[in-house]
């Protein structure tokens, strides 16, 4: 038993190192950025919320929210626990219906679940009875094996395609979930505290991965987080939700690729956001 456990740990170590070096290879990043800039506007869909309200019974969670997210923007939402962040995300995904107001994605009103919107949950929610590849290609669209394999390669897990989800680590599971979201080339990616349960090292690795993939694919991204440093490190723009409304809406004009809490302007921004939360 001890043997098996240590073998597993060794194996994970190997995978960790592999992906740790791959994503932030400076040369590939520099090459990729200009070319992908055009793809960004082509793939991303603008999201528009008008007077959006949501109540559960008597409790009003969101009240008359107005928000315009330009195509391809990476928006971070921070706020206290229970302020309605997940509720907002579920409304944009079309999982729940708003009590009042409208949501549009691209030019279309959101009435129900959207095929070009994908949601990443806090837990990976992989189907334990499908192998990793089958999970990534869950919609079983035409040629799903190839596209699922490509998405897995994108998140650095091509070699785990035939494993059961039960043997993956937390970070690997979230990467599979990310690959699953990418397969259909969504216009909007919604992330509900997807890295909250990961350790600090894995989380930083996931930040780099998400940033790279977002640059390549150019989807509009809404990232919910309770970690202000994470928001400032990743986002183009940060909004704070308080009492069901937007309390702060602030751009993050720091050059990419960013290093977490590297310079004073980032720290100042973090302090500013924390004041409002």
């Amino acid at each position: 038993m001890r043997d098996a456990a240590s073998a597993l740990r060794l194996h994970e170590g190997a995978v960790f190192q592999e992906t740790d070096t791959a994503p932030h290879d400076a040369t590939t990043l520099r090459e990729v950025v200009p070319r992908k800039q055009e793809a960004r506007t082509a793939n991303g869909k603008a999201v528009q919320l008008n007077g959006l309200s949501k109540s559960f019974g008597n409790r009003r969670v969101l009240s008359k929210l107005d928000l315009a997210i330009p195509a391809g923007q990476l928006l971070a939402i921070v706020g206290r626990s229970g302020c309605g962040k997940s509720t907002l995300l579920r409304l944009i995904a079309g999982l729940d219906q708003p009590s009042a107001g409208t949501i549009s994605i691209g030019d279309a009103r959101v009435q129900s679940l959207q095929s070009n919107v994908r949601l990443l949950f806090q837990d990976a929610r992989l189907l334990p009875w499908h192998r990793v590849l089958g999970n990534v290609g869950i919609a079983r669209a035409n040629g799903w094996r190839e596209s699922a394999m490509a998405a897995l390669a994108d998140v650095g897990l091509a070699d785990r395609a035939n494993d059961w989800p039960a043997v993956l680590s937390g970070g690997q599971s979230q990467r599979v979930a990310l690959a699953r979201a990418l397969v259909s080339r969504p216009g909007v990616l919604l992330l509900d505290e997807p890295f909250g349960a990961l350790d600090a090292l894995t989380r930083m690795e996931m930040h780099r991965l998400l940033e790279r993939i977002w640059r390549e694919h150019g989807f509009t991204t809404v990232l919910i987080t309770h970690d202000v440093a994470e928001a400032v490190a990743l986002a183009d723009r940060v909004i704070v939700i308080r009492d069901g409304a937007i309390a702060l809406d602030i751009p993050v004009d720091l050059p990419r690729p960013r290093r977490e809490a590297a310079d004073t302007s980032a720290v100042a921004l973090q302090a500013r956001i924390l004041e409002e939360v």
Binding site: A4, L113, S115, F121, L127, A166, R180
Partner: protein, 272 residues
């Protein structure tokens, strides 16, 4: 060092096998001695060697296989009908609230009726034909499968269902790829319960009224005081039951290969 441990392990397993067989073999030997020396009357209990001889004889002339095949056929027909109905009703009640209100309370009430108590009625309805036995087996096997299918579907992780909806799975894909696999461990537990009930029901039904099958073979032998055949029938029932159990285990390890409890490493750890 690893090599030595392996050897020691192999030795330990061999010893375990010998130890676990020692008692049954000892009993059979004692029994044989007791029969031969006349302590046990062969009219009440035949010697093991007589049972073995009867087994060989009936195997050669084909009677054993014919009767066993007929019994198995009845058992499987009853299971297919009863299990099929239980499964379908379980799925319906599991995925739709209206269906649950229609079926569930009736099924919960009916399941408390011991189905063997229906034998007199069943004989009135069907006589002693095939239908009577298949009907009884079907009634007996339907409930465990119904209950476990219903329960299995209701306990599928709702977060997975929500995820599947976000990722665009339609109702059919949702059922085949999320709900059914999620309920499968529970459904297979129901199947194993049903298999036990299936053989038990069939033994009773064949013993009471039949003109073929293992139960008939033993009842017929009783009239001629052929105790060796009676014991042989009991052993054949036990073997058929064991076979069915082994088959479900095989299905489980195949269908639930994804389940951590059924992964090879885990099972090796679990069996000491």
């Amino acid at each position: 060092m690893a090599h030595q441990t392996q050897l020691r392990n192999a030795g330990a397993t061999a010893l375990q096998i010998v130890a676990s067989w020692a008692l049954p073999i000892g009993i059979v030997v004692e029994w044989e001695i007791a029969s031969r020396s006349g302590v046990i009357s062969t009219r009440l209990l035949p010697a093991p060697s007589a049972v073995a001889a009867a087994f060989w004889e009936n195997l050669r002339n084909g009677t054993l296989l014919t009767h066993a095949a007929i019994s198995t056929e009845r058992a499987l027909k009853g299971l297919a009908i009863g299990g099929g109905i239980g499964f379908i009703l379980g799925v319906l009640a599991g995925i739709s609230r209206p269906a649950e209100t229609v079926f569930d309370s009736s099924m919960q009430m009916l399941r408390n009726v011991p189905h063997l108590a229906m034998i007199p009625l069943v004989i009135l309805w069907f006589g002693i034909g095939e239908e009577a036995k298949i009907f009884l087996v079907a009634v007996g096997t339907a409930f465990p499968i119904y209950l476990n299918t219903f329960h299995g579907i209701r306990t599928v992780d709702v977060r997975l269902i929500e995820m599947a909806r976000v990722y665009g799975l339609g109702p059919l894909a949702l059922f085949w790829r999320v709900i059914l696999p999620g309920a499968l461990p529970s459904i297979l537990v129901g199947l194993r319960f049903s298999l036990g009930i299936m053989w038990l029901t069939l033994i009773v039904a064949e013993t009471i009224s039949a003109s073929s099958g293992i139960g008939y073979m033993t009842m017929n032998a009783r009239e001629f005081l052929q105790t060796d055949i009676v014991v042989l029938g009991i052993i054949v029932y036990a073997l058929l039951g064991k076979l069915a159990d082994a088959l479900t285990r095989l299905i489980e390890t195949r269908a639930l290969a994804w389940h951590p409890a059924y992964q090879p490493a885990a099972t090796r750890e679990a069996v000491p």
